[in-house]
């Protein structure tokens, strides 16, 4: 570790995309956005936080479902304008009940695994 914190592009962009990847399987689970505050909360708590651009609010993944993401490592890309959260996912990442939000091909074929019943989780 160098201790030198990496420059992030929050001065140019309010929201940076953050990709959540399962630290063990390597599966890409979801993509959401973070603000400086959301990133700060993630680092403080060790739980993935994001910022909803449509609801205009900071949220903790799994706050209502219990499907939290334990963040093992945060990586930054070469330009400092995208983040990668390496995580341990409780339950499933997708609100539809799938392990990953990327459970469909562009042709509509379902390639992912459903791991919970969304109706039982989100009332």
């Amino acid at each position: 570790m160098t201790g030198a914190e990496v420059d992030l592009a929050f001065d140019e962009q309010t929201y940076l995309p953050a990709v959540a990847q399962d630290a063990e399987t390597g599966d890409v689970l979801m993509l959401a956005y973070v603000t400086r505050d959301a990133l700060e909360r993630t680092r403080e708590t060790g739980l993935a936080h994001y910022y909803s651009r449509s609801r205009d609010e900071l949220w903790q993944k799994g706050e209502s479902s219990g499907h939290v993401q334990h963040v093992e490592e945060i990586r930054v890309d070469c330009d400092g304008d995208a983040l990668l959260y390496l995580i341990d996912q409780e339950g499933g990442a997708c609100h539809t009940g799938y392990q990953s939000c990327f459970h469909r091909t562009i042709d509509g074929e379902v390639v992912g695994e459903q791991v919970f019943d969304p109706e039982a989780v989100y009332e």
Copy 2:
């Protein structure tokens, strides 16, 4: 395969983020943006295309470096507003010579592997 093409959020957003993941190792290599045209070119050619928001132009990854990305599968997230390219990367994905653009932790520790000399590739 269902044959039913997935709805994409291009009506709401001009640019959608696309994550490139090594189809074999699972490494997340880069994140860039696509327009409808960039996605179309990707599907037509089987080579990853993106759209540069700063240069305002469509580009093919590896056009100048030769480090092209052969796209094996394209996935779409649950909301249709993010894409995942599963790819076979020639050379390295990052213009700095690293295999992945996500080769640093947020604390500045280098965790990725340098696979080419950028000065020899980009003149």
